[in-house]
């Protein structure tokens, strides 16, 4: 095999999938992103993976469990990276070697998404597209897992953003984070309204280019002065 860097810091990075299971995961990932969960049949997955139909129910328990495995395989490393980035920023800020501002916090979750998008061995931009689907459709089981195991991640980012935008209420902070996450995910996923209307102009599949346009937008949005009561300034 090729995976696992020498020092696996504590956690078991990958549940050690067999060759067959891996082929299934990869075909499923591509198809779930392209067609969605419901529109993708196990027969199509196994056919494209070049494995037998029954292998899915053997290696993963069910179609739903397969979906969760596909999601978790990409999500967990990414989420860990986001957390590590934030902790590193906090450490370097305490040491006085880095500024703790909005851009630094935003880059803590942009950087991992960028790295993921540029790494074909981790599926490239596929996962971001999958995540943007999960965000819109809502898969019960996944939501439970996320809020149980990764709720603290969001909490940490909320606190961090609160520190760098001291003038804003907790509610306002939550909104800024929500909007900031949202715009980044859908931009990375390429969910483009202009494209939907055949007026693309933004063809950009290049992740670096996406960052270049999204980050200034998000930073400006997050730092905006809040609007009072209704209209009247």
């Amino acid at each position: 095999m090729k995976t696992s860097s020498p020092s696996d810091a504590g956690m078991p990075a990958e549940p050690k999938y067999s060759e067959t299971a891996l082929r299934i995961l990869e075909a499923a990932e591509r198809l779930f992103v392209e067609l969605g969960l419901e529109a993708t049949s196990l027969r199509l997955i196994t056919q494209q993976a070049g494995v037998n139909l029954a292998a899915v129910n053997y290696h993963f328990r069910s179609k739903d469990a397969l979906f969760e495995a596909v999601f978790a395989r990409r999500f967990e490393p990414w989420a860990r990276e986001c957390l590590r980035e934030l902790e590193r920023l906090e450490a370097r800020s305490s040491a006085g070697t880095a500024r703790f501002d909005a851009e630094a916090v935003v880059m803590c979750y942009v950087r991992p998404a960028l790295a993921l998008s540029k790494d074909p061995s981790r599926g490239g931009a596929l996962f971001v597209r999958l995540f943007s689907r999960v965000l819109v459709e809502n898969h019960r089981a996944l939501r439970e897992t996320l809020s149980r195991d990764w709720g603290h991640l969001v909490t940490r980012y909320t606190e961090a953003l609160g520190r760098v935008l001291p003038g804003l209420s907790a509610e306002e902070i939550a909104w800024r984070l929500h909007l900031g996450f949202s715009v980044m995910f859908h931009a990375f996923a390429g969910n483009d309204i202009l494209k939907l209307f055949g007026r693309s102009a933004v063809s950009a599949r290049d992740p670096d280019l996406i960052v270049k346009h999204v980050v200034p937008f998000v930073l400006a949005g997050m730092g905006a002065a809040p609007r009072f009561g209704d209209g009247t300034p």
Copy 2:
């Protein structure tokens, strides 16, 4: 019936659906939003609508055609409103009775979305949620219709935004519009990452509240200074 204001400016506003067809449209709309196209069966739709299964294929040709009808019924009035708002702004701006700035342009598409969200007789926020799904999944037939019949709408908004943000390149303008549309739609649709992680805080179903938080964010983002080459200012 209750619809149609006295002076229907030219176009046939609604294709005059029969009672049964309307019940189907309404049940389908709700279910498509909740479960998605593939996961919603015609049997479930007709059951909730209290009509016979075959009625769907009689009134609409097929399941796909039903979906397009559901979409078009809400989309077209909304799109027409967006166009009218923009034309009104241009007229009032020429007459010197209104300022032609970024906020005015953004409000041209926010206002119709807000009005729609607050009007239960037009399905309330359901359509925005449906639209956000369409944006992520991509339904071939719908994309063709949109780019053929409504591509000019996007073109008009791109031009308008170019006028109020004169310092930016055409590519940059397209990006700002893409991101601005995107964040508004997903905010109205309630596609909230914080909610996904069980850290809601932004429960806000109130459309006015959404506007209050989204508009400053979008305006600031659109007016941001673009980022040069890479990092170095």
